[in-house]
Subunit: 246 residues, 2 copies
Amino acid sequence: MSEAALAGVRIVLVEPAGALNVGAIARVMKNSGLKQLVLVDPQCDPLSPEAQQMAVHAVDILESAVQVATLPEALVDCTRAIATTARDRDIGITLEHPRDALPWLIEPQNTALIFGPEYRGLSNEELKYAQRFVRIPTSDRYPSLNLAAAVAICSYELFQCVVQPTLKETPDLDTASFDALEGYYQQLEQVLLEIGYLFPHTAASRMQKFRQIFNRAQLTTSEVGMLRGILSQIHWALQQKTEEER
Amino acid sequence: MSEAALAGVRIVLVEPAGALNVGAIARVMKNSGLKQLVLVDPQCDPLSPEAQQMAVHAVDILESAVQVATLPEALVDCTRAIATTARDRDIGITLEHPRDALPWLIEPQNTALIFGPEYRGLSNEELKYAQRFVRIPTSDRYPSLNLAAAVAICSYELFQCVVQPTLKETPDLDTASFDALEGYYQQLEQVLLEIGYLFPHTAASRMQKFRQIFNRAQLTTSEVGMLRGILSQIHWALQQKTEEER
């Protein structure tokens, strides 16, 4: 799946009061490949300097944001809607983890993710327009997320649905071959004997520990070269001293 | 696992410039059960009205935030550090998904998650203090996340590690502390200069490569002891030869 699968998802903010929040939300939406912002009866100016300052390079999202008077208008043409809430409600709804519910919005049709006002969240009346309900898990010591943080987390989760399986980027490492490593371990053992760090009868068990360290590091060919360079230099420095003695 | 498992994780902000961001970060940390905020040379007042306004009920996090002058000071006593970056770097590091790397910070010991300044992110020099590197996947159309949004997402992921016990993996290794590693790197540099492998003007860039190797290996305290033993022995062997000369 690609980012294009997110084109049909609208982020609906009900009565947002903070221009800084709305601007920050535009930015995080663009960071996550989301494009449609719908503001229900906004209590701030989404094109104010504060909003634009927070949006930075996502002012286009603010400019194309749609303003409507009521939540039902924001949901016109939507086939699926998820509402977010910070609280348990005694109204018989199931609260789901964002990771479980949000993939359901990735669809060719129009879908919506609804966030309530900063100071009260969504009312029970407003919740009833959604089919599913998400609560972002938070600490009991301070469960209430800032609106922009809540949108950031949900946008991030939505984006993960389309970029997975995870982008683990391994740089194209030229991992050292088995023989290159063995050559290094043999030279290491020789030098450690030469400087008197190892003794012949304890060398094997000690070398085992060094092997573990360097095997864990998954050395590249050029790193093995550097490490061997150190060993050659130690040997050379000791020889120099011996020569000087003569 | 419970929220208490997060007590050892410190959030380190390098030169944060925006008081609103720092306040928002305090709030989202408390939302996610995180307590320790460390500010490296902050460029704003973390107790300014703007910061407090955004922190709301997390002003205690701002009040107990520790201010230090340099990143190494922020990492004292840490056994593990992850740095965040928005960009690919041509310095041979592997960028991981937050979900893959962050569980590694959930430990009884002290660990750190490092974020760079708003306008430039972490420098290559600053990155070298971390053992692992995280990039939050974002859209190519606008990859740069707001600092507070990045912390919100990572804090959320950390909290999911403790509320969803499935995500954890950690062998109980006696991982070397930040200071133990730094002591080793300093001794290594000295010995490499002494044997003529390093020259003062190239030492820094070469040492960077050795740091990468040993950071990747995630050394234990006793391994650092063994490696330092080798260095002491090289120094001793060279001194012996010098003595013999006389």
